[in-house]
């Protein structure tokens, strides 16, 4: 079976992640409930005319994918596969508000056209003039993992040699206010917002675009091999450990083979038990990593998690700002990632250093 390698990364997030080594400038913001991306200089990547028309998710997706392709030194790809939980929610909001407020009159199509979930994948294809396989997954917090699994299958099927895979989500004002109302986002008066050992409900929300170039061949830019991805719609807290060890088993690995586990802790006291059970039991002697204190929670935040995993391999170190415990390993060769959101959409991702 052909192997899948991560050969390029591009990350636009709430931290400076697009022209830095590995979180050396990262700062934890414990005072805001919403984290916005640190925008790149868009005009370095997109024409000024196009920039004005594009929502930020589309812009961030285009820039992140371009950075990943540049790093992997590929000019074109055989597939573009994206994941997004809420899609182009800014444009959806804009069009929906116009429909409601203008009572279905005097509408223009631009925001409707850009509101479809596959806009980012489509705009990247248009920019690259790439007529290849193009797909968008929209299943909340496994949207990105679905894209990653599809890409891995494409390489195994020998249908593609180079693939762009990415996760994109954007904050939009009104939807954010609804998420606050529904309690998905933490209440305003509960500062400081700490992700570990939080006692409050909800999460600090964020946004971002994280892209990867996956290829079937190892090269000088290779970060990691993607060994396996598994998606499960529902698990009880007490099923997580057995599911996790079954996943490792299927890959002929044991807990002791895992050099670091990257956990999707988001500070929601109701659901962080899913991570705690791994953190306090099977993996208590394993270096543990968390990242949503930097990225915020969003449906495709786990793509930021994979970016973190890939960077650990490259630098062979875990920055203090993302450490759950004080354990270290002399070398990082195998990393397991686990993520879920509100007890559903669980994913296990396994990567190894080549």
């Amino acid at each position: 079976m052909r192997k899948t390698y991560i050969n390029g990364l591009g990350c636009i997030s709430a931290q400076e992640t697009f022209d830095t080594l590995f979180l050396e400038k990262a700062e934890i913001n414990e005072n805001d409930t919403i984290l916005a991306v640190k925008p790149p200089i868009y005009k370095d990547f997109i024409s000024p005319v196009a920039i004005r028309r594009m929502a930020k998710g589309v812009k961030n997706g285009i820039v992140a994918s371009a950075i990943a392709m540049k790093e992997a030194n590929v000019a074109t790809v055989d597939a573009i596969i994206t994941g997004t939980g809420m899609g182009c929610i800014e444009d959806s909001e804009k069009f929906l508000k116009a429909v409601i407020e203008n009572k279905e009159e005097f509408l223009t199509p631009t925001s409707f056209i850009q509101s479809t979930h596959n806009t980012v994948g489509a705009q990247i294809a248009l920019g690259l003039q790439c007529k290849a396989y193009n797909l968008t997954y929209v299943n909340a917090s496994v949207s990105f993992e679905s894209a990653l699994l599809d890409a891995k299958m494409k390489i195994e099927e020998e249908e593609a040699n180079a693939i762009l895979v990415g996760g994109i989500d954007e904050n939009a004002d009104y939807t954010t206010s609804l998420f606050k109302l529904a309690g998905f986002i933490k209440k305003e008066n509960e500062v400081p917002y700490k992700v570990l050992n939080s006692t409050s409900k909800g999460a600090v929300y964020g946004e971002g675009a994280t892209f990867f170039v996956l290829e079937n061949e190892k090269k000088s830019t290779t970060y990691a091999e993607v060994l396996d991805v598994e998606i499960i719609n529902k698990l009880a807290v007490n099923e997580v450990e057995s599911k996790c060890s079954a996943f490792l088993d299927a890959n002929d690995l044991q807990v002791s083979d895992v050099d670091a586990i990257v956990l999707g802790f988001n500070g929601d006291v109701e659901f962080d038990a899913y991570y705690k059970i791994l953190s306090e039991n099977s993996f208590k002697n394993t270096p543990q990593v968390y990242y949503k204190q930097l990225s915020g929670e969003y449906n495709t935040a786990s793509a930021f998690g994979l970016w973190v995993g890939a960077k650990i391999f490259k630098t062979q170190q875990v920055p203090k700002i993302i450490r759950v415990n004080n354990l270290e390993k002399p070398a990082y060769k195998t990393i397991l990632l686990y993520n879920q959101y509100k007890g559903i959409d669980h994913s296990f991702t396994l990567i190894s250093k080549c």
Partner: protein, 399 residues
């Protein structure tokens, strides 16, 4: 054995609440395009839609949902179709094998979002609907209704979405990652999409007439359809009846424009070419094309040109669009048309392309306008969407 076995089907559309009802409508020209009743819109006098004539309350009752449920209409339609499909495949223990669900939607819970958008802050009882906007919520609700635990995901590539969920399902079976997978799509009518398509000026003010020179655009519709795909091991072990097989699939991007198709139909051409290659079939082996045929000036020209490029102008197989009956059901379209393709194979019929009068000037392609009986081995079904997403599926008779 070529292709992946289809062992169950379920559907709800404007032309019927079951597979049988849909078939009866297809062969009797029973059009489901009517004046809109379930959504209050200022356009109700000038547009016609393929609406399922059941209120949300009727759907709630049918699914026996509790009063505090937060199902969007999209989720309810999807759950009804998926349950039918599982029952049709005679599955009694859903998690007995490695089973997945691949859904598709473009609007997700938009019907609830648009109905309550500015009321959420006023009425606490509505807050439960905020979480159902997410496309994944629909798939989760369907999975819960089926009692399914496993791989669940959702695809959204606008109007080609369900074709891609069927394709992914077939690949997951072929690769052995799953033993069984329920694939399809669901989309309810929404003010959001009605107004969106209205602003693009591609809604017909009458009845859509695909591949007609005077076509004026599409009628929107709503529907849900799901199919059960199973591995040959299960088919053999349980002596399952195979309805037909998914033998080919192709996905390409037109890379031309966010909403318009290229004049030469590059994406459509590449998708059909790829599907034929996967199915290992020559163009002349296709007996029937269920075209995307939305009846917009742009789609039919682009799709027609691509058909000419693949098959040759004089050698195009019988083709028809079933959208004059159902309307364009967006993310569900490829799933309902997959079921129509299987029905064509099972019953050896080509369904008529209604409302056709005048051939298009640009090429000599005349759709089949009456019900035609002939042996059908292979059906090719096209679905294209915004963002240049072009997908083709090929269904074949089980041998």
């Amino acid at each position: 054995m070529k292709g992946v076995a289809i062992t169950g089907m379920g559907i709800i559309s404007a032309i019927g609440n079951t597979v049988e009802e849909n078939y009866v409508s297809l062969v009797n020209n029973k059009i489901g395009i009517t004046t809109i009743e379930n959504i209050s819109t200022i356009h109700s006098g000038e547009i016609k839609v393929g609406e399922i004539k059941k209120t949300n309350q009727q759907l709630v009752d049918e699914l026996q949902l509790s009063t505090d449920n937060n199902f969007s209409r999209t989720a309810m339609l999807g759950a009804i179709a998926a349950k039918q499909a599982v029952q049709n495949a005679q599955i009694s223990s859903i998690n007995e094998y490695k089973t997945g669900l691949i859904s598709a939607t473009s609007v997700g819970g938009m019907d609830m979002t648009e109905a309550h958008y500015y009321d959420y802050f006023e009425d606490k009882n509505l807050v439960k609907y905020i979480s159902c906007h997410n496309g994944g919520d629909v798939a989760h609700k369907i999975a819960d209704e089926l009692g399914l635990k496993g791989m669940v995901t959702t695809i959204s590539t606008a109007c080609s979405s369900a074709a891609n969920s069927i394709m992914l399902g077939a690949r997951l079976i072929k690769s052995g990652k799953l033993d069984r997978v329920i694939v399809g799509g669901t989309d309810a009518l929404a003010k959001f999409t009605i107004n969106g398509f209205k602003t693009l000026m591609i809604l017909s003010d009458g009845y859509n007439s695909p591949f007609d020179d005077d076509r004026k655009g599409l009628n929107l519709g709503e529907a849900a359809a799901f199919l059960v795909l199973e591995s040959d091991e299960i088919v053999k072990k349980e002596n399952k009846k195979v309805l037909a097989r998914v033998s080919g699939y192709g996905n390409a991007n037109d890379a031309f424009h966010q909403t318009a198709s290229s004049e030469n139909g590059d994406g459509a051409f590449l998708a059909m070419e790829k599907a034929l290659q996967v199915a290992n079939l020559k163009p002349e082996q296709i007996d029937y094309i269920n075209v995307h045929g939305t009846a917009t000036p742009n789609n039919d020209l682009s799709e027609g040109r691509a058909i000419v490029r693949i098959f040759g102008e004089e050698k195009a197989p019988d083709f028809s669009s079933t959208k004059p009956l159902t309307g364009h059901t967006l993310a569900a379209a490829a799933a309902i048309e997959a079921i129509y393709s299987v029905l064509a194979i099972q019953n050896n019929v080509v369904f008529p392309n209604l409302n056709f009068k005048t051939p298009m000037k640009e090429f000599n392609l005349i759709p089949q306008t009456t019900l035609k009986h002939k042996n059908i081995e292979h059906v090719l079904s096209n679905s294209f969407g915004f963002g240049g997403n072009c997908s083709t599926l090929i269904f074949s008779k089980n041998e």
